[in-house]
């Protein structure tokens, strides 16, 4: 019996290896998803873990016993396994729970578990009650992303092409702020931008306050607790995420290309536009994603630097989840946020392309 099985495994061909590899991958992923999402009663969860374990052991046995053809066809699925298991347990399962929550309703206010009831009105509430917060989240994140490109590109360019032997130190300086907590850095800005703080007094000494008020940067002579401060905070906090990918894409550019362009009578600015910029677009694209996506969901900057009229959707989601205990609506809001970001990113990638993402 056992020898017959071994014999069959030995003689298995490539295509059946692929079939089995894929089937096991899906099986393991589905089991982990079921465990993570809590589909089954506690006792069965253990059973599923046993199934997963057996599937993995079986896969290894088959790979050991099988011929080189079988092994080669199984290898990609084996290598995919850790990643897909991770994804199933820590991404798909929570996502599914969130989706289910967002369509549930609580029977009484202090229910722990909301009951699933196709409650689409949660999405209605998410839009109708929190429309302005959604709007501000994308507006502020968008402006902040544009600012990080405007500031970050020249910085990255300078480090990559003019940094010389200081390159690594300069790059290190970009990263140094990360050694301090995000929260602390943001709170520090709230004292720098305070009414009696250094920023305002410098502006007043230079008599720029009237001008800044005129163009809407200051409000009643203050910086802190304004939309400006929130956007500023986002820009500051996410700047390194823009500089680093742009730097990486610029650093790869062969400087001889620019020499060649100039040899062909291109002006410096034309060489930049025709050669450097297109080659660095993947860096800008990656930086935009790294900046815009977390910035749109951020709540720390709006909380410490904003006022009650500048709250972003992240603040609302946090409040609904952690203070109001309103999981269904909070989940719907989180889902809408995710959906809008996905759509925006897809549109954006249509124009900039992801093929050679840095």
């Amino acid at each position: 019996m056992a020898t017959a099985v071994v014999e069959r495994i030995r003689s298995a061909d490539r295509s059946s290896g692929e079939k089995w590899g894929l089937a096991l991958l899906i099986l393991v992923g589905a089991c982990l998803l079921a465990v993570g999402a809590g589909w089954l009663p506690d006792g069965l969860n253990f059973l599923l873990l046993v199934v997963i374990g057996l599937a993995l052991v079986g896969l290894i046995l088959v790979a050991v016993l099988g011929g080189p053809d079988l092994r080669r066809s199984l290898a990609p699925y084996g290598l995919l396994k850790p990643g897909s298991m991770w994804l199933a347990l820590f991404y798909l399962a929570p996502l599914w729970t969130l989706l289910r929550n967002s369509l549930s309703a609580k029977e009484t206010r202090f229910d722990i578990q909301a009951t699933f009831s196709w409650e689409f009105s949660n999405y209605g509430t998410a839009f109708s009650d929190f429309g302005p917060q959604f709007g501000r989240a994308f507006l502020y994140a968008g402006v902040a992303t544009a600012l990080t490109i405007l500031i970050g590109y020249p910085v990255a360019y300078f480090i990559a092409f003019r940094g010389g032997r200081w390159r690594n130190i300069l790059l290190g300086l970009v990263v140094v702020p990360f050694f301090t907590s995000y929260l602390i850095r943001t709170i520090a800005w709230s004292s720098i931008l305070a009414d009696s703080g250094p920023a305002v007094s410098v502006i007043e000494t230079l008599r720029l306050d009237g001008f800044l008020e005129g163009i809407g940067i200051m409000d009643d002579g203050r910086l802190i607790n304004t939309a400006t401060a929130v956007i500023f905070g986002l820009t500051y906090n996410f700047l390194p995420f823009m500089i680093l990918p742009i730097y990486v894409s610029l650093e790869k550019i062969d400087t001889r290309l620019m020499d060649a362009a100039q040899d062909l009578y291109s002006s410096a600015s034309r060489a930049f536009r025709k050669v450097v910029l297109p080659l660095s677009i993947p860096g800008v694209f990656a930086g935009t994603l790294l900046t815009f996506i977390p910035a749109a969901g951020d709540f720390v900057n709006a909380q410490f630097l904003g006022n009650p009229n500048t709250t972003m959707i992240g603040n609302s989601i946090q409040d609904q989840f952690l203070r109001q205990n309103n999981y269904p609506v909070a989940s719907a809001m989180a889902f809408v946020l995710m959906a809008i970001i996905t759509v925006l990113v897809l549109i954006y990638s249509k124009f900039f392309g992801t093929e050679d993402l840095a």
């Binding site: 009484t108 206010r109 202090f110 722990i112 009650d129 917060q133 004292s191 305070a194 009414d195 009696s196 703080g197 409000d219 009643d220 203050r222 802190i224 607790n225 006022n307 009650p308 009229n309 709250t311 603040n315 609302s316 946090q318 409040d319 609904q320 989840f321 952690l322 203070r323 109001q324 205990n325």
Partner: protein, 391 residues
């Protein structure tokens, strides 16, 4: 009233909570307060009277107890010396709603939580009692419970008084920075003075903010029953927020904004402002002429708490006026314990005469606790409030 715990030594160089805050700030770590200090002092010393070997876990708000330092022995440490009980005292209680969200999955499904005593604000204690998540206190083992001030007896949140014993009380009123306002304030309507546009702070604690605005509108917050009766205050708040009158809704961090002048005036808590004004005489606290709100945080035992005997000893200990006076001198809130004033007078006579710490009859009459709302009405209030605070 005698000191029931004669073998505890009280050697004290009075140090206020404010000084500790300043010190913690200098260290750049407010987190390095009590737990660290206790951990440093902790444990091993189980000498003293009482039956050793038992333990107790109390979870309270931050900076709400006198610590052991500068030669003074903190209440927690004195309690351990007096009773031999191994006390774990943590300060994880930071926000009523957040704490509720944290314990709900456990107590709501019949599981227990670790602390034997927690100290929610009285309305939250009422909610926990309604949900039947509390055990009755072992009051028969707490002889000192008789020392409770009359105003705190049998509140609406605990009509029989069997479930809660107040820890400290305080007042929400108007705090202002004279240097920023340029004039004395006296009324709730001052918060809506256009002159202070963008320089007004309000508390995220709904009952304190709305309660004060209701008083300003001539409505008694102790007697409201429906949302409609309070709608005026919500409209007023909404308008002030949209107009940009309100700079921020804050928790305890309003003290920084007030001290730095970001806020000209705000809704604040008596104890905090008392300590701030010691450093900066321009910072004032008033109970507005229309009245202020009275709140208190109250000790309760979550359902299934294990160490009932030790918990009774703790409550008895902190309801001893001599011990309670030590708390009052440090936290500078109102003590719910009778006889504390005389004890405080021996340590700090000026504090004993402060009407914000020991309200006289006139002041008492102007302080109103927020009504106990039924669940649905409360939900309406909280939703409306969270919509305005914009979070």
């Amino acid at each position: 009233m005698s000191n029931n715990f004669p073998d505890t030594q009280i050697t004290r160089t009075p140090m206020s909570r404010r000084q500790l805050l300043a010190r913690a700030g200098a260290l750049g770590a407010a987190g390095l307060s009590l737990p660290a200090i206790l951990a440093a002092c902790g444990g091993g010393d189980s000498g003293g009277s009482g039956g050793g070997g038992s333990s107790l876990y109390v979870e309270n708000w931050p900076l709400y107890i006198d610590p052991s330092e500068d030669g003074a022995i903190g209440t927690a440490e004195r309690f351990m010396q007096a009773t031999g009980i191994d006390l774990t005292y943590t300060e994880a209680f930071n926000d009523n709603l957040e704490y509720f969200a944290k314990i709900q999955p456990l107590l709501g499904t019949g599981k227990t939580i670790d602390p034997d005593i927690i100290v929610p604000t009285q309305w939250m204690a009422g909610r926990l009692r309604d949900l039947e998540w509390l055990d009755k206190l072992p009051l028969d083992q707490v002889p000192n419970a008789k020392n409770i001030e009359d105003v705190f007896k049998n509140p609406p949140s605990d009509p029989t008084g069997e479930y809660s014993l107040p820890w400290q009380a305080g007042t929400a009123g108007i705090a202002y920075n004279l240097a920023a306002t340029g004039r004395e304030l006296k009324s709730v309507s001052d918060l809506f003075d256009p002159e202070f546009k963008g320089r007004i702070g309000m508390l995220t604690e709904m009952r304190d903010t709305i309660g004060l605005l209701l008083l300003g509108l001539g409505v008694n917050p102790s007697s409201i029953k429906s949302f409609d009766e309070a709608a005026g205050a919500f409209e007023q708040l909404e308008k002030a927020k949209s107009d940009g009158q309100i700079r921020a809704f804050t928790g305890n961090d309003y003290t920084d904004d007030l001290a730095s002048g970001n806020f000209a005036a705000c809704v604040g808590w008596s104890g905090d402002v008392l300590q701030l004004s010691a450093d900066n005489p321009d910072i004032r606290f008033i109970v507005p002429e229309e009245g202020g709100t009275l709140w208190w945080d109250t000790m309760v035992m979550p359902k299934g708490a294990k160490n009932r005997d030790a918990a009774a000893k703790w409550m008895d200990f902190v309801y001893d006026p001599v011990q309670a006076a030590q708390l009052t001198v440090w936290v500078q809130y109102q003590s719910p314990v009778k006889g504390v004033r005389d004890e405080v007078a021996k340590i700090d006579p000026a504090l004993a005469d402060n009407p914000l710490v020991f309200p006289d009859e006139d002041t008492r009459k102007r302080l109103f606790p927020f009504a106990a709302l039924d669940t649905d009405t409360e939900a309406e209030f909280e939703e409306a409030f969270s919509r305005i605070t914009g979070a």
